[in-house]
């Protein structure tokens, strides 16, 4: 276990336990105001908990109100780096010196820190901006440099607080790729409201609502079969994993799901096709017409979800109106066809 964390903070009505295993990326999902950012501040040492205890590897970060002796390690001695929504690059330093700041603070020589900074700038694909000031960088460029700056101190735990939220939708996928690469083999906690971040970056998902953990588990399980209300609202995604072909992803069961690749995915590469249950149409007879994916399925379960009914099969789900369920006479065991337009399917590198 890398991080074992328990804390309460009555001011924010937070009462959370969180574990991060070695080399594991944990995504924390939850609605606004649920306490996600507070959680990160507590781990980083920017806030003090009322009660609780946190252990990072073999160091007790803090202990308060428990059986052990109260203790507190200040933020700069925790080995926990924090990446926020905005890059927060120091405006008076160049990109290179921003990245070198951490190593310098940890006692490296100026030249060693700069060498390390260049390495990390290259790692995030931002070496060409080394001599620029933050004011001369776009949001996406700035955030890449902020990633490099956080990694340059080789943190024992990396905290990411909605790192893509302030970015242009056109820039976010590229940064997500960078994060995907650098988070490999690293312990990290990423707070996000974007289910794709969780899907593509995290091994495990924790859902927080009203300051409490309401659900947690392996990413695929939580995202495809969420048990919490919030999880169901944002997740419940259909995911087909397989190998990339020319027109889509060939799933393990041989079915081809056509879709639009959000990024460069090479042929034969492992990929995942993602689509929302609300994008799926349910038919008794195979539908014709416009080009779309049609999958023959057997319904296993019908579940009310707000004003919709979620129709589940072994691996997929569709949201339809109660009227449609009645009209199509759907019930567990019914054979049906799920249809989804290729334009509703997003394909990512898996």
């Amino acid at each position: 276990m890398t991080l074992d964390f328990t804390a309460t903070l009555s001011e924010r009505q937070l009462d959370v336990s969180l574990q991060v295993a070695r080399r594991q990326v944990v995504a924390v999902l939850g609605p606004n105001g649920s306490g996600k950012s507070t959680l990160l501040s507590l781990i980083a040492g920017l806030l003090r908990a009322d009660t609780g205890r946190a252990v990072l590897e073999d160091t007790v970060l803090f202990e308060v109100g428990g059986e052990g002796k109260p203790s507190w390690v200040p933020p700069h001695a925790r080995g926990v780096a924090l990446l926020a929504q905005e890059p927060l690059l120091f405006p008076h330093l160049t990109a290179l010196d921003n990245v070198a700041f951490g190593p310098r603070s940890l006692g490296r020589s100026r030249s060693a820190a700069r060498t390390l900074a260049r390495h990390w700038l290259e790692e995030v694909g931002a070496l060409q901006y080394a001599d620029r000031r933050p004011a001369q960088l776009s949001g996406g460029q700035g955030q890449r440099i902020a990633v490099a700056r956080a990694l340059a101190v080789d943190p024992r735990l990396l905290l990411l607080d909605e790192p893509m939220a302030a970015l242009d939708v056109a820039v976010a996928p590229a940064l997500r790729q960078v994060l995907r690469r650098v988070l490999r083999d690293r312990a990290a906690v990423i707070v996000t409201h974007d289910v794709l971040d969780a899907l593509l970056l995290a091994d495990r998902v924790v859902v927080i609502e009203g300051g409490k953990v309401v659900e947690q588990g392996p990413t695929a399980q939580v995202l495809s079969r969420p048990r919490s209300a919030f999880g169901a609202r944002i997740a419940g995604l259909n995911m087909v994993r397989g190998a990339m072909e020319e027109r889509g992803v060939r799933g393990a069961d041989g079915i081809l799901i056509e879709g639009l690749a959000n990024q460069q995915v090479d042929l034969g590469e492992a990929a995942v096709a993602v689509f929302r249950p609300s994008a799926v149409g349910v038919y008794r007879q195979p539908p014709g017409g416009s080009p779309r994916n049609v999958l023959e399925v057997t319904i296993t379960e019908l579940e009310p979800l707000g004003e919709q009914i979620r129709v589940r099969t072994a691996g997929l789900s569709a949201d339809v109106t109660p009227a449609a369920v009645a009209e199509l006479d759907l019930a567990p065991g019914t054979r049906a066809h799920f249809a989804v337009k290729a334009s509703e399917v997003a394909i990512y590198r898996a």
Partner: protein, 261 residues
Amino acid sequence: MSRRAHVALPGWLFVPAAGGALFVVLPLAAMLTRVEWGDFLGLVSSDSSVDALLLSLRTSCASTLLCVLFGVPMAMVLARTSFRGQQLVRSLVLLPLVLPPVVGGIALLYTFGRRGLLGESLDVLGIQVAFATTAVVLAQTFVALPFMVVSLEGALRTAGGRFESVASTLGAGPTTVFRRVTLPLVLPGLFSGAVLAFARSLGEFGATITFAGSVQGVTRTLPVEIYLQRVTDPDAAVALSLVLVVVAVMVIGLARGRGSL
């Protein structure tokens, strides 16, 4: 600078606004009409004038330095910590802003004067503060320090603590954060605070004459010299006043040039 469209002001507002501006500018213009331009250089370069000018510049530089040395830590403590009674401390620290300088001078006299609270101890050590140049510097620092603290505390609050938080998670200890992040971030505020403190020191009169007296070359600063000359040599007083106006304009220009006043 962005060009923003403003909602139109009510027309009548311009009348009192122009009146107020005139009220500030007109006396300066009136003074200009009285300057003896032909003899200007002679008037400002008399021994006593040059002594007063040099003394003013020296003491103002010294008190500005003291304002930086004490004001920066004070502003940091006020902006970056919270403790019981902080509001009270802030009010007391800023008191010289609203206190009549003469009262400040009296207070200093009873602190550092020969019979003062600390004066007797200092006297034993052979240090005499009152009616020496040191007294001028103390009087100026007393009245100018709040300008430094207010200006810098505002800059610190505007900058916020987020960069400092990030720096600390990157392994920077409190001193490194202060030196490499906080200070560079608030440098414009520090600069304009120093400029304001310098200007206030240069113009200090009431506390100085009460606490430091008026000995040529020792405690007689430019404002004191102007006050004394006003009776015996009005032309010299006007000429020296003009020197102070020019210095003040330069100070404002300097602070404006940095875009932070």
